[in-house]
Amino acid sequence: MLKESPLNPSHAISRRLVGAGDFFLEPLQKGQTLRIVDVEGNQAADTLFYNLADIAERYSAVDTVRTQGNIYLEAGTRLISTEGRVMLEITADTVGRHDTLGGACASESNTVRYDLEKRHMHSCRDNWMLALAINEKYGLTKRDITHNINFFMNVPVTPEGGLDFDDGLSGPGKYVEMRAEMDVLVLISNCPQLNNPCSGYNPTPIEILIWDIA
């Protein structure tokens, strides 16, 4: 379901461009709205959320897809925590479908998927590791790196049980927007993957906008 946002970017309290292969780690207060813009198109934003008051409670891909009875995220999807609570709700989306099954690229999974000699290539999971390492104040470690959302990514599943990585449905300027239903910590890796079409073999920037409580 495509749904445009009524929010005006000029009213946002924060706008930040995140380059390909860089991370975004910031708190988002209950009631605030976060927009991720696929600035040049065909990008993937690998995203995790934590309850700011109890980081052991975090976004759960499996609880989210099971609760809504559908594997794709779109406008209206409620992002469910490991405790079964609504963390955020997707309030606008001009893409139509986002993945939460495919997980994040990693040095280690790159060796399996592509070649053992690609282990040195930059990846979302290494990007998150650095984000956590230089932001010790949040108390997050590798054990907190879990099963994420891939905004803008298209990972169709077939009724026969196959799973594929297709060219994205996203395009330049398309965005997804979500409102926090609790105070959360947002961790995003702007995907640096060069080995598959999820970034169009050419990773590009994303923009993060935040609006205060309406």
């Binding site: 594997i71 054990r143 907190d144 599943v157 196959g162």
Partner: protein
């Protein structure tokens, strides 16, 4: 030399791994059982877990775990960790994406987040096991089937999958932060072209089984709590039979060659075992 060769050449990696397996605990026991028949009892352990219960154990590299759904309609929730480094654990998304699959069955490998094969599905009667629907919480059990406490029902009290995992996890220093997307053996949930999920009832028949061959030492957290989408009106409580045995060295070969990705996964295992002396 071995590692460099393994990096260059998957065939070399397989040779290293085969040599490694000759030294492994499983084949050690197997060779010696010929001379020491009474040892056989120690290489094979069979038990069962009643419905709605939990257990944990460490599988040695080169051993097999066979699960059998004794009465049908069972569910076995599973999480896996490397006991030498608990931060390395089963990663459902990595497992699914590298094998281009939404389900698990014979020929598939279960991957850790470190690009290694924890275990391979070497036998399976069912053709489909779920790993995308998570497990039941206390609230879900109480809402769906009604609360039944230990005081009311003694050991027939209704446990949730999440609590079952946590009880076992705490025994190894793991906690809520270490929970992950689990496997639900014996359960099938399909997605249609629009992504809508449907639980397939009566998927597992009495006596259906699957066998995992472990490719590295692995801590297994196991529960027999119901699948969260099981529509049964009464709390499903199906027992699962558990058999642990030593495995023939070549038993996972079909999984190794089922996809080029798995060849590379096994090569990662060979490199790992080459550099650590923990296989026996």
């Amino acid at each position: 030399m071995g590692v460099r060769a393994a990096q260059r050449n998957p065939a070399e990696a397989q040779k290293i791994e085969a040599a490694e397996k000759q030294k492994s605990f499983g084949s050690f026991l197997q060779k010696r059982t010929f001379f020491l028949p009474w040892f056989n009892a120690m290489t094979h352990y069979k038990t069962h877990l009643p419905g709605g219960k939990h257990w944990s154990f460490t599988m040695r590299s080169g051993s097999t775990l066979r699960l059998t759904d004794i009465e049908g309609n069972g569910n076995a929730g599973m999480l896996l960790y490397n006991p030498q480094n608990l931060l390395e654990r089963y990663n459902a998304p990595d497992t699914l994406k590298c094998q281009h699959t939404f389900h698990l069955t014979k020929g598939h490998c279960l991957y850790s987040d470190m690009g290694r094969v924890l275990c391979a599905v070497i036998d399976d009667d069912l053709g489909w096991h779920d790993t995308v629907c998570g497990t039941t919480t206390r609230a879900m059990i109480d809402d769906k089937w009604g609360k039944l406490t230990y005081q009311q029902a003694l050991n027939d009290f209704r446990q949730s999958g999440q609590e079952a995992f946590l009880v076992e996890a705490l025994k190894y220093g793991l906690s809520r932060r270490d929970m992950a997307a689990n496997v639900n053996w014996f359960s099938k949930v399909v997605a249609d072209d629009s992504g809508n999920l449907t639980y397939v009832p009566n998927h597992s028949q009495p006596g259906n089984s699957l066998t995992l061959r472990f490719e590295m030492d692995t801590l297994v957290l196991l529960h027999t709590c119901p699948h969260p989408l099981n529509p049964s009106e009464t709390y499903p409580s199906q027992p699962i039979e558990i058999e642990i045995a030593a495995a023939p060295p070549e038993s996972a070969d079909a999984c190794k060659t089922s996809a080029p990705e798995n060849g590379r996964g096994f090569a990662n295992n060979a490199i790992y075992h080459q550099h650590t002396a923990h296989t026996c």
